[in-house]
Amino acid sequence: MSDTKNEWELLVPIIPFLLVAPSLKFLAGWESVEAAFLIVVVPLLTFPVILVLGQLYNGNETWKHRYKEGGIFGLGALALSLSIAIWILYDYIVGSAHFEAHSVVDPLSWLTFDVIEQTGTQWEVSTGFYDIGVGVWIDSVTLMLLFVATFLCFLICWFSLGYMNTDKINEDSNHRFYGEFVLFAIGMFGMVLADNFLWLFIFWEIMGLCSYLLIGFYYWKESAAYAAKKAFLTTRVGDVFLMVGLLILYDIYGSLDFEVIFDDPSTGIGGVMVESGELFWALLMLFIGAVGKSAQFPLHVWLPDAMEGPTPVSALIHAATMVNAGLYLVVRMVPFVDIHVNGVAGLEDFALIVAWVGGITAFMAAAIAFVQNDIKKVLAYSTMSQLAYIFTGLGAGLLFLNIGEHHAGYFVIGASMFHLFNHAMAKGMLFMASGSVIHEVHHAHNHVRELSEKYSTNEGDDHGDFDPQDMRIMGGLAARMPVTATAMMFGSMSIIGIPLIGGFWSKEGIIAETWKVCLEEEPLMFVPALLVLATAGMTGFYMTRMWLMTFAGPPKSEIVGHVHEATPWIKEPLIVLSIITAIGGFALALFGATEYLGDPEYDHLSFHGIFYTLEHAFLPEDINLRLVGWITILIAMVIGPVMASRIHGGRLIDGVEANPLVSWLVDLSSRFGSQDVSELADSQLAEALQRRLYFDDLYEMTLAKTAIPLAELSAWFDKNVIDGIIKQIVSNSSSGSVKVRGITTGNARDYILMAAVGMLSIFALLWGVSA
């Protein structure tokens, strides 16, 4: 790597974008929420600009180096979105604006339906009865997700300037990456801000499209094209159910607006009481949509394959933002079940389904992560597992709310949302750190290959199938990549839930409250509760294993010695996010983020929550819960990591030093002795985990038995029946026209004469008739 200088001067074009929010506030005197639409509109205008300019100036030197093939424009638009999001956040948290008017911008009328209604015996058409507006809906969950989405989009776009633009394989196609990246941002921001379910669904689909496009970014690779198709089709299954759910909701409430529905979810259209049976199906359908998007069992198969996309895409879409859309949708269901306000009683079954799906996915994904050797696949399964935690927490919360325990319910829902925040920050960073590792290992590999080609005549050696994501060639990178190693350490700690670091506060809340449901209310909750408890320890194992395999121990290949952490633009996001995961989660927990996110009546952050949070985490009154809490800490912090250390731990080679922030961990990992697990690695269980518990095989077999024969049948029908009819018509008319041609002269003047004679006879006829 020769290009080690900073390129700060390239950031000059984004300054005007940054000035928009302050000038709107101080010069035009706007309220922050009035500017909220710009969060979506500016990226919407930017993405076609990037694509068109990218086509026009493809290969141009200025475009490539000065504007980073559109990356600078994307960064500018995202910076604007971020600045407005922070402005809104400031108004709501620091300036303590209240959430009284949820739909804060008057909806612009957009779509107007005529509705046909049956009144008694006859049908009536009412015109302009229902219109769908474009508005903005802001509450604490929106604020949190909006901040997560804008902040991570910005940082990951920044990271991409280093990651994408220094890779030869992406050259001249990066405008496609940035264009789709910004389009994705539109989808995410729009979904978070939408004030009705229809817009939510539209933006949801935009995200699905971008996910497909970006997974298939390297579309010439067969595996990437396959993965993109798989992701699109799998999430599509969920989306169809989601659409059905929306239709049922519309049938119940006569509207899809949050304002109308959440005003009183127990009263349907025309003042009818809503039956829990009908609502159950609506919510279940929506939940299946969420399961597809958030890659939960049984629609989880697409997420690991989605790692075929470029690493920034994995970081943004498949870890930090898009997969949270499903969770967001489930959180939006809170008013339906909250009988403390206006919810509908009798939906405990639905809450149980949510919790069970979460528990099963959490355990299964963590188990599969044990045997993955691809650094991104470990993170992918970890993402699934952590999202499943949040689903379990939401399930427990919905159950609490539905039986009237609203304090506990709000707490666990808040904890789940807080876990979403912590997980998004940590996992976004972990993926970027893994991207940094992959990038530098790849460069080192290329460097080594150049050297070996220079000094040997032996060409065409075994480097063709080199995989820079394989952790078995790494090891000892802590000394070569200090920033990345530190970032990854903090990220892993947050995910594991080491006490006092980000993820601990939220994860503890989820596990404790799930057990509380199990012990006090609903014995059927035992399975999810047990699974998430076990998963806490498994998380400790697989995250530590990943870190140690990558960064500790002696180097496992010659490439490691050539790795340098030198690419510009990559370190800054890692440093920022390290600080947030290390300290931010702690600070937010102390300020009562859990209550703020869960309880609708708790409208400002304050120190009020600190004692409750601390007591809840370490010394709950119930002795059983205290036991659960301490077991969680024990297995997550001690047993899991120690087992991983025994297998993969070890000192660096002599003569190299890691930085002090991580060297203690490397030393610690070498003190637990070592254990040989090759016997275990050959076992049938390991084989089953390698094959992802055969779910992919099962789905593929089912498809091969059902969908593919059906597709072949319809292809045959199209070719022979539909096309056959048309071809018959064509051949009949052409043979018919040959016969007709036989009676003509082919002389143009004869035709004119016939036309004139015909016209004259028509005139004569008309004359005769009228006379």
């Binding site: 040959v738 041609r741 003509t744 002389n747 003047r749 004119i752 004139a756």
Partner: protein, 100 residues
């Protein structure tokens, strides 16, 4: 002021000339010109009617018809060019491949 019926009569005469020419001539360009003559005879009738009834509609129709006639001539000449380039003749008697 000339009577409208006189102008209409002129239109009839022009139309007949055009029609006769279109029947009898074998040079395609002349046929095309004859068609234009017929078209303008019809236009003349419009104009006559318009001035007789003091109604502007006839003028407008005529203006539109002339504009369309220009387009039609362009297409007609283009057909002639392609006819010549494929058949090497523009004689109507020889361009009769539509016959079986």
């Amino acid at each position: 002021m000339i009577e409208a019926s006189w102008i209409a009569g002129l239109g009839v005469i022009l139309f007949s000339i055009g029609l006769l020419g279109a029947f009898t001539r074998k040079n395609t360009i002349v046929v095309l010109m004859c068609i234009e003559v017929m078209l303008n005879a019809a236009n003349l009738n419009f104009v006559a009617g318009a001035s007789h009834y003091s109604d502007v509609d006839g003028w407008v129709f005529t203006a539109i018809a002339i504009a369309i006639a220009a387009a039609e001539v362009a297409i007609g000449l283009a057909i002639l060019l392609s006819l010549y380039s494929t058949q090497e003749t523009i004689s109507l008697d020889e361009a009769n491949i539509l016959r079986n």
